[in-house]
């Protein structure tokens, strides 16, 4: 397209042009007044006007301007809400389908515009490609504010208009946003924001709209869950029962709290206090018993992940008799400020002759075995049983509870000695089931062996982070032990870190130090009674006794799931959503090439699964520290991923997959918010069915070439102006005006 016009010479300022215009106007006014008062001839007045114009032309030096260019279609950015929430229904279709239909209508209608479609959710918006939409992870939130902020900060051409396609249930701005806040949204880009609402009516739905907590998730400390429950879409709600449960491995869900939400005007708030006793990653299910007619069952429950910390690790140390081994362990435990130690040592047996007239001369207290292993057991993070006879000290009747405690997430260390393992009556007991080793029947093997030996470190022991400290101090050497307990073969999934060089357990060397998971808990079996020799021996002295602390720090750390002693760090690539593909990121310490096996099991399923889950496998080469393993599409629920990296002890990661999650928490659309956004930013608000009526902004003319040529050379204009002045002066003289 070519456009032609006129202009003035380059360098003539606007002020000069205006000043000249004012002078010219004044001159013409004087000429007119003169003509009226003195009755001068019209020719004289005309020459005066001509002279003034010639003077002006000499100053402005008019030019001829020729430009070439094109009208560009305006850029329009369509922001499509990508939250999971759009999987909710809007009539017969999902809100997502309605949004896509609206998008198609917009694309058809805005043919006179360059339409860029971006998906928004969390953070900056991303290009939306419909064909690839299913493969892209969808966000929970609908953060329009963050998207607009990113657009305004992006370089390049600014859009002429924005179109937001959503159901209006935005994370930001939300329904409480003020007019000023909404106005500011548009002012960032200086363009109107049009909105297309994809849903207008709420489905009949009772839901857990909001979950908050007061207080930190600290083991053994009360935590309050603040719930906001909503009822909408004409559903009749009055009192809605709510239960809170912890999902455990191989156990039915453990009830934590329950309450009733009394719904008034469609909402109810409820506070449910509960306590989580075990530290680490814990999954809690909050379930709402929705009334009949509820159309969105996905938001009737939430699966919450709590990273429960400890102020201090609370340990119960029970020893059958005082020895240097007991002393060393107690002193190490007491020296650690992060450990809250409760200890009970058997100092007197019924056969001891204490030589007192009555017990008031003794500083002894009864061993509160019943109280400890019933009332107080859940308050401990781990229990250490050191060389204590379960039968003689009436611990036997509490072994089932102790086994349940371990499966529910507690820690257990059984330390060797004549009264440990088989010698203490643990073979065939429920507690024997949670140990990482099997215990032979008392008739099939002697409970202890008297032969001295130096424990042999297994390949797993060399790879285990729990023993890294000892290895760094002592290398491959360990002190000579004066005998051992008889331990059976490892249980499935358990790992031996030390083994006996001569004794056999089945086909393999007898484990002397073994670790294993049992349900949600962990257990350690130590078949010797001389780890204090890591401090009190010529070998121990080489490390100034530090090897002893290094061993127990590693063992207690592993038992308490301290990340420093895990063989791998595990996390999901993104939040797990039921039905969508999930992937696990495995980060390990650098080392040799290893095979990695991952077993995935559901939490909260009581009893053994019908068939053992098939492990997923991959290989990590020597220089690879991080690998991603696809887990496939998972159904709703809590899961535990157990990862075996080479021969190292297994690392475990618990996670939840939700169907609705926080995205579905509030199923009500909010078209009024979209209307307010449009109103405050100068846009229009449309329903999805009206998307085809949106008008495109006017096109933008873009010049590609501009030619400026003077009408006459400057000297000619000057000559003409001078001639005009001269002629006008002469005419005045002749008329007798000068």
């Amino acid at each position: 397209m070519i456009e032609r016009g006129f202009g003035v010479a380059e360098g003539v300022s606007t002020a000069l042009t205006w000043s000249l215009g004012v002078l010219l106007a004044a001159w013409l006014l004087l000429l007119v007044l003169e003509a009226r008062s003195r009755k001068v001839s019209a020719w004289l007045t005309a020459s005066g006007v001509l002279t003034a114009l010639l003077v002006a032309a000499a100053i402005l030096r008019p030019t001829r301007v020729t430009s070439r260019g094109a009208d560009l279609f305006p850029k329009v950015v369509v922001l499509l809400d990508r939250s999971w929430r759009l999987d909710l229904k809007a009539g017969e279709q999902t809100r997502e389908q309605v949004a896509l239909d609206a998008l198609h209508a917009l694309q058809k209608q805005l043919k006179q515009a360059r339409v860029e479609v971006l998906g928004f959710g969390e953070g900056p918006p991303a290009p939306f490609v419909e064909a690839e939409a299913g493969a892209v992870e969808r966000p929970t939130d609908s953060d329009l504010t963050a998207s607009l902020r990113a657009l305004s900060a992006a370089p390049g051409e600014r859009p002429k208009a924005l179109v937001v396609v959503s159901d209006g249930r935005l994370t930001s701005p939300n329904e409480a946003a003020t007019a000023e806040t909404l106005k500011e949204l548009g002012s960032r880009l200086g363009v109107p924001i049009h909105t297309v609402s994809v849903a207008s009516s709420a489905p009949p739905d009772a839901s857990i709209r909001k979950v908050g907590t007061t207080g930190a998730a600290v083991a053994h400390q009360k935590l309050a869950l603040e719930l906001s429950v909503g009822c909408s879409g004409g559903l009749s709600c009055d009192e809605l029962p709510i239960t809170v449960e912890e999902l455990l491995h191989g156990e039915p869900p453990a009830p934590l709290a329950q309450g009733v939400a009394k719904v008034r005007d469609g909402v109810a708030t409820l506070e449910l206090p509960f306590t989580l006793d075990r530290a680490g990653r814990r999954l809690v299910r909050v379930r709402l018993d929705a009334p009949e007619g509820d159309k969105v069952p996905e938001n009737n429950q939430r699966l919450l992940t709590f990273d429960v910390t400890r102020e201090r690790v609370r340990l119960l140390h029970v020893a059958g008799r005082p020895t240097y081994d007991v002393r060393a362990l107690r002193m190490w435990l007491k020296a650690d400020e992060s450990i809250d130690l409760i200890a009970f040592f058997i100092l007197r047996t019924n056969s001891d002759a204490t030589q007192v007239s009555d017990d008031s001369e003794l500083a002894l207290i009864p061993f509160p075995v019943d109280e400890l292993f019933t009332e107080h057991l859940p308050s401990f993070d781990a229990v250490i049983l050191q060389d204590i006879d379960a039968v003689e000290y009436k611990l036997e009747r509490h072994l089932p509870a102790l086994a349940r405690y371990v499966r529910a997430g507690g820690g257990l260390i059984m330390v060797g000695g004549p009264s440990a393992f088989m010698g203490g009556g643990y073979a065939g007991s429920p507690l024997g089931e949670v140990l990482p080793v099997t215990l032979p029947d008392r008739d099939s093997a002697p409970p202890i062996d008297m032969a001295s030996f130096e424990p042999r470190i297994t390949p797993a022991g060399r790879a285990a982070p729990a023993l890294r400290g000892v290895r760094e101090l002592l290398g491959e050497r360990l002190p000579q032990m004066l005998g051992s307990n008889t331990l059976g073969p490892l249980r499935p999934g358990a790992i031996a870190l030390w083994e006996h060089p001569d004794r056999r357990a089945g086909r393999d060397a007898m484990p002397m130090l073994a670790l294993g998971d049992s349900g949600d808990g962990r257990a350690i079996a130590l078949g010797v009674d001389g780890t204090h020799l890591l401090q009190w021996s010529e070998l121990g002295e080489r490390s100034a006794g530090r090897a002893y602390g290094a061993l127990w720090e590693g063992l207690v750390g592993w038992l308490m799931r301290d990340p420093r002693y895990e063989s791998a760090r595990l996390e999901l690539t993104h939040e797990c959503r039921a039905g969508a593909p999930a992937s696990l990121v495995i980060t390990r310490l650098p080392g040799a090439a290893v095979d990695v096996k991952v077993t995935l099991e559901r939490l909260g399923d009581a009893g053994a699964p019908p068939a053992p889950p098939k492990p997923l496998q991959l290989r990590m080469e020597g220089d690879v520290e991080t690998a991603t393993l696809p887990l496939g599409a998972l159904s709703e629920g809590g899961y535990t991923a157990t990862v075996h990296i080479g021969s190292s002890p297994a690392a475990r990661f618990d996670f939840a997959c939700e169907s609705g999650g926080p995205a579905f928490a509030d199923s009500r659309p909010d078209p009024s918010l979209l209307e307010r956004i449009s109103q405050q930013t100068g846009g229009v608000s449309l329903k999805a069915s009206e998307a085809s009526s949106l008008k495109a902004p006017p096109p933008t003319h873009v010049e590609s070439q501009r030619v400026v040529a003077p009408l006459l050379p400057a000297w000619i204009w000057a000559l003409l102006a001078a001639s005009g002045i001269g002629a006008h002066w002469y005419a005045r003289r002749r008329a007798g005006l000068i």
């Binding site: 020895t323 409760i342 001891d352 062996d449 005998g483």
Partner: protein
């Protein structure tokens, strides 16, 4: 070797001499047993009737408590690496120990820094030259840790028996001094001739008379010895909060 409790309690005192004369067979369950090793320093070793004191101490411990003990304790030199093989030793004598060699001082320092407990037992507290000389040498080894008086509420007075004061063959001072490192009393300085109270003859009778009183004082000395052994084995176990109300009640009863 010490087997199950039932077998230990049948050990008769008359067998002490025979046991003391043989090398103890260390085995499973025995490696952590209380072992009152007698310190040899400057070539001076414990002799005379008190040399049976450590074995008698072990026997009393085994008979009265659940703790295992070595019935034939051995000597250990301050300059030998074996000193640091166990966390306890007793250094007894009745004369000036002289000046320790560099190796002995180094060995003693290593033992203490590893967390070991040493009982210094003056066999002739009336003269006190042994006690003074040991304090002098300890000050050279641990100049940063001078002895302090142990509070009467210290755990050593309640680790097994509730005892009011330290007692040995002689009544001695009502308190004991100790070198305390961190929260632990690691060197107990006794002026009560504890081994003298425990010493027995081959026939099983007590070798040395207690002064000033008789049977009761010896019993109190034995209780104190058991408490020291329990302190070595359990450290400050009886200071745990869980024991506090019981002990307060019992002390009140005793008064």
């Amino acid at each position: 070797m010490l087997g199950k409790k039932a077998s230990r309690r049948h050990v008769v005192l008359s067998g002490l001499a025979a046991l003391a004369g043989t090398r103890a067979a260390h085995a499973f369950g025995d490696v952590g047993a209380f072992n009152p090793r007698v310190v040899v320093a400057g070539g001076k070793r414990l002799s005379g009737p008190r040399s049976t004191g450590p074995a008698s101490w072990s026997m009393e411990l085994v008979n009265r408590t659940s703790a295992p003990a070595r019935l034939a304790p051995r000597e250990v030199s301050l300059d030998r690496p074996e000193l640091c093989n166990e966390p306890f030793a007793i250094w007894a004598g009745d004369a000036d120990v002289g000046s320790l060699s560099v190796a002995e001082r180094r060995g003693l320092a290593k033992f203490i820094r590893l967390g070991g407990v040493l009982v210094v037992d003056d066999s002739d507290p009336a003269q006190g030259s042994f006690g003074r000389s040991v304090r002098r040498e300890l000050l050279r080894v641990l100049p940063e840790s001078p002895p302090v008086r142990l509070d009467p509420s210290h755990v050593v007075y309640k680790t097994f028996y509730i005892v009011e004061r330290p007692v040995g063959r002689v009544l001695g001072p009502p308190t004991i001094d100790a070198i305390v490192r961190g929260k632990n009393a690691q060197v107990l300085l006794l002026s009560h001739d504890l081994l003298g109270a425990l010493a027995r003859s081959d026939e099983g009778s007590y070798s040395l008379p207690t002064e000033p009183s008789g049977y009761d004082q010896r019993q109190q000395a034995m209780r104190f010895a058991v408490n020291i052994a329990m302190y070595v084995l359990c450290s400050d176990y009886k200071d745990d909060q869980v024991h506090a109300p019981f002990l307060m009640r019992r002390r009140a009863q005793a008064r």
